[in-house]
Subunit: 407 residues, 2 copies
Amino acid sequence: MRRINPSRFQVATRGTSRDINSRIVLNLVRAHQPISRADLARSMGVSRAAVTLIVNDLLAQKRIFEGATGETERGRKPTFLYIDSRRRAVIAADIRASETFLILADLLGKPLTGVISFPTVRDPKQQVTKLAARIKRLMAEHPEIDGYEGIGVVVPGMVEHSTMRVLHAPTLGWRNVDLREPLAAATRLNVQIENSGRACALAQMWALRGDHATMAGDLVYISVSDGIGVGVIMNGEVLRGRHNIAGEFGHVPLSLDGPKCSCGSQGCWEAYISNRATLARYFGRPVNLAGPEDAANRPFTVEDLITRARASDAKAVAAIEATARYLGLGLASVINVLDPSRVYIGGEITLAWDLIEGTVRTALGERALTAAAAETEIRPVAATEHPRLVGAAALVAAPAFAAPVVA
Amino acid sequence: MRRINPSRFQVATRGTSRDINSRIVLNLVRAHQPISRADLARSMGVSRAAVTLIVNDLLAQKRIFEGATGETERGRKPTFLYIDSRRRAVIAADIRASETFLILADLLGKPLTGVISFPTVRDPKQQVTKLAARIKRLMAEHPEIDGYEGIGVVVPGMVEHSTMRVLHAPTLGWRNVDLREPLAAATRLNVQIENSGRACALAQMWALRGDHATMAGDLVYISVSDGIGVGVIMNGEVLRGRHNIAGEFGHVPLSLDGPKCSCGSQGCWEAYISNRATLARYFGRPVNLAGPEDAANRPFTVEDLITRARASDAKAVAAIEATARYLGLGLASVINVLDPSRVYIGGEITLAWDLIEGTVRTALGERALTAAAAETEIRPVAATEHPRLVGAAALVAAPAFAAPVVA
DNA sequence: CATAGTTTGTCTCGTCACGAAACAAATAGA
DNA sequence: TCTATTTGTTTCGTGACGAGACAAACTATG
């Protein structure tokens, strides 16, 4: 039951029915690919005639294509339909504090190239120039791609959705930066900017592997890294909030008088489970942001810590176990508040998921309000799945499949 | 951008455009009442011809009616249209631990009668019988009402939305109770059951006073009483979550090792700001649920405490101030996580709002992530507005104005 | 008082899109 | 070769919106 806003609504015109139904067809093709017109008509409950006309539209727009013919017991064989992602791609960029990553992906979010990267430049203008140059080079290296749907960019910070400006990205030192306009001007492509946590959540919602297709649209993506990034999908839509801060669980306190947090407050979840917190616990003292700790000039990271834990370093195990416990206690809050169908966890800590899962579950169980809530599915997302880049790709690829705005 | 669920979607048929547009007309009439056909056509951007046909439909359905003619500078005078709530009503019931309240309201949620009440019976079957009898008596007392849209019931507990069963209502001692079926059978009316916090939030979303009409669909309703009840609206829809527990901020910890909570855990927000917590702070010892404290056999309540605070009882002031501070600190979490346009606060504590607002704001400012978030509008809702009963009425009255489900 | 000008509300026609049903095409099996 | 069956297309009917003409109602004005 959604409210109609009497000052911002969308009336239905003659084409609205067609809009709605052709979006549904696109989604069904994407979900059940390959699928025939007759199958579409059956699963939609509309006449084959209507499907024929819609499919012809989509064929003319080159959004789908006719492939092989299928097999049937009796009668004429169906012609299968597929999403047309041949020779079309999106560009995905992930700007992080030290490096920027780039990839080409198809319209379904599948990577088409390996990940390339370059050191992030702190000056926004120079960074955009460099990014645009790398994107152009990447495009030139792939002449087999006819058209680009656009560029999706994720940043570790607060993004104003209406203008796509980066309002504040602490690790980059950016405030009120407009990446979109210069990047669009340089490449003449549609550019979409989003916070990385939200983009990751969006990508998981639009993902099609396994039973996702049938999943309700309620999920949370939590990325545990130097900070805690959270993306929330509720009722099939990204939660942004009035001031684009929705989902900031990282600064919900576990204990009001807990350890000092980078935000200036005390006892935030982030101050318990960020990589810095885990390392600080191991070393028994605060760890600064990019502090080299161990080998010659190479910083000691959570990955190293996990390696030591696997090698039965008792202090390392204890540090990770403590993080796991606080992760579970915080997850209880996330689940009690949002009650999602599934929670995804990203970040380096997922490398140790087999070690910590039990502890996380136990802690979650301690504070989850109901037994069912305590059983909420938790899925680690490995770095090798490139969740942020897939998220960036989804920013551009997903809108074509979204429900049309109506009423 | 909403995702289309490929296994649960709604195709557009021939009537879909009309459905959408007639809902929009209904909402515009409700928001701008009185309004003419020509005005509707202008603000919708559709032809007057289309509006005429839609309006004729709605007139035939008796959902709107033609009233007086308006004034214009020149030309033919418009005939004004109004929502037809004449001689039609909804029944709203609020079941609380000790008493059950009843009221008649019109289709816009405006109370038509005074509040009547009777002691709540703990046995669900007897309670339903009694409630049905009182409802029938109320209906008999109002023969001027031609038709009832239905019965809205709010309960202080977890309600499964799909079946409308009361899964767990601790203060009533109910588990897995079906109120709907027997009540519907006894009255032959449409019965809607909902958690009271959610219903209050729903009512605020659908309310039309002041600038609400133009408000974005993001708000939170927090009711501070024996427990903390929270209703959340995001993107114009009620948040329920996978297991119907979404919005349980009452059991998010302020401090992991804080005071013991009724849920069995420690340091929950509820354990800091519930009425029992405030009273316990005043008395310097735990207070049991319905414990008579002061006068002959009459329990000492938070209202009494507020009276004493107003009479400059230093201990009372301190107790309320502490509650205000924790209220603000918890609100910071609510706002950081959901970032709503507005937060409504209900419960007895609102009687002292003038005393505590400053403290609440200060505490909120301490932990809010941005200055804008700290400025989030907070509105106390007085008990005299009967938020739970208006919420119950909205359960039945609002669906007629909701956006049709499509795509 | 008649008339022009203006605004509201209705009517007609054209077009878009879905539903029903007939039809053409393709295929397996008797 | 014929029949049954299934897919995909075409035709016709109908619901709904857009454009524009028209009737109705009202004011101002000479």
